[in-house]
């Protein structure tokens, strides 16, 4: 997957978790926590969705990589390059 494709997939996951938000305005360099009021339980959902959709096992130690869109893409891009 390309970086833009991954971004679209992440937006899909986010809009599934929090459907009432406006993702057109999402800033890639600001944390999900700050922009979308996401907490650790929401982060768990992102991890579970990635596992479900891309068969990707993300170790707990790597969760901090999922803090913002930019950091998430940086982290996922090499992992999803072949998918």
């Amino acid at each position: 997957m390309t970086r833009p494709e991954i971004r679209t997939a992440i937006i899909d996951i986010l809009s599934d978790i929090a459907p009432d938000e406006d993702y057109a305005q999402l800033k890639d360099d600001v944390s999900f926590r700050e922009q979308l009021s996401m907490d650790s339980m929401d982060m768990l959902d992102i991890v579970l969705e990635l596992r479900k959709q891309f068969k990707l096992q993300i170790p707990e130690a790597d969760y901090p990589n999922l803090v913002s869109m930019q950091s998430t893409l940086d982290y996922l891009e090499p992992l999803l390059a072949d998918k």
Binding site: L36, M41, K52
Partner: protein
Amino acid sequence: MGEENIYDTVIIGAGMSGLAAGIRLAQYDKHVCILEKHTVPGGLNSFYRQKGRNFDVGLHAMTNYAPKGVRKGPLSRLLRHLRLSWDELGLIPQLGSAIAFPGVTLDFSNQFGLLESQIAEKFPSQIDRFRKMTASLVDYDQLGLGESGGSAKEFVRSFLTDPLLINMLFCPIFFYGGARESDMEFGQFCIMFRSIFLEGFARPYEGVRHILTKLLKKFKTLGGELRLHSSVKQIVSQSGQVSKLILEDGTEIRAKQFLSSAGWRETMRLCGLKEPEKEVAPGKLSFVETISVLDRDPKRLGHNKTILFFNDSESISYRKPDSLVDVRSGVICSPNNFDYAKPLGEGQIRITALANFDRWAELGEERYRLEKLRCYDALIGSAVRFIPDFRGNIIENDMFTPLTVTRYTGKDSGAIYGAADKKYDGLTPLNNLYVCGTDQGMVGIVGAIVSGITIANRYLLAK
């Protein structure tokens, strides 16, 4: 035994917590089955139909109301985790509620400022203290597991000095979630205070069945299986692990993991674990509720409160009464008094009061019926000291007692808020069996749903 009786997770009880846990698991492709002993889902928050009318059980109002767009708080959390949009719940806010004690009434609504101004007016020496107290409990973590300990009474008394105000504030909190006599665990108090006073009440137009229908549809769409009229007879375990469930009809069901919302004692009994069962004393607090259908909307009789908590003396006795019913104090709820776009039609007034399970249980069948009638009259007679007398407008009535609660929900002693001591971590002596729901520590519809989500996330999904 066929393949059809093997699951990833089996959940006992299709109440709010079991359904919420089921949705979470089904969302992540777990093969999940919910077993419900009753013929309708809902557990403590259910519904029935009688003589052509729909009645709710349990739900007076959903607490924890938040308007659309609010991202914080338990309601927005549960919407996110269950992938529901705010609109789907169809919540209509309350018109306004009150706490009525002799000579003083405190109005409150979903705007916290109303309660503050009422306290400022009626208890001027207390308002600054009240604000400080509110500020200190507002950040208590609602979703964390684990007991914070301590007495809510002591906490409140460290701020407020007027015993009447203290008793008035405790009145709704006790009635809407008190599993313990005369006091409450501090963390539970914070959750209740917030859910009632800071957030507030709402109700879907169609009542609790609307919420249950949404949850059920979600669960089934995700591939979850619900079996009604499936009562668990035994939880069979081997070397510290549950191996299968046996139903009353003899069916055997296997799964990797099990989650029970039946209650702690009730679950341990199914396991045949006598010592763990005894760790937790049965809940003492049960209730009766009268339901009166009126020939008109209660507002036309001059009653426009959504929920009115009444108490006929300055001190409040939130204890198991010695008599069948304690009519001195109670909760008057009118499902008509929410801010609907169109009125509900027939009027309804429900009145809830503390009751003694053992007294009801020792009555013979005929006495039981007579006492129900007598207590219905006594409770309504007590309530009309606080609201307009509606007795001439009743066209239909019903009543439930602590025995009704036990019959339909399987909860020991009709204790709707469960045992006084909670199992906050949801763990049991068996390593693939967990508990959620009332005895895990959260009460109310939102609390129960959050309980199911939390336990599912923590133990059943993370693995």
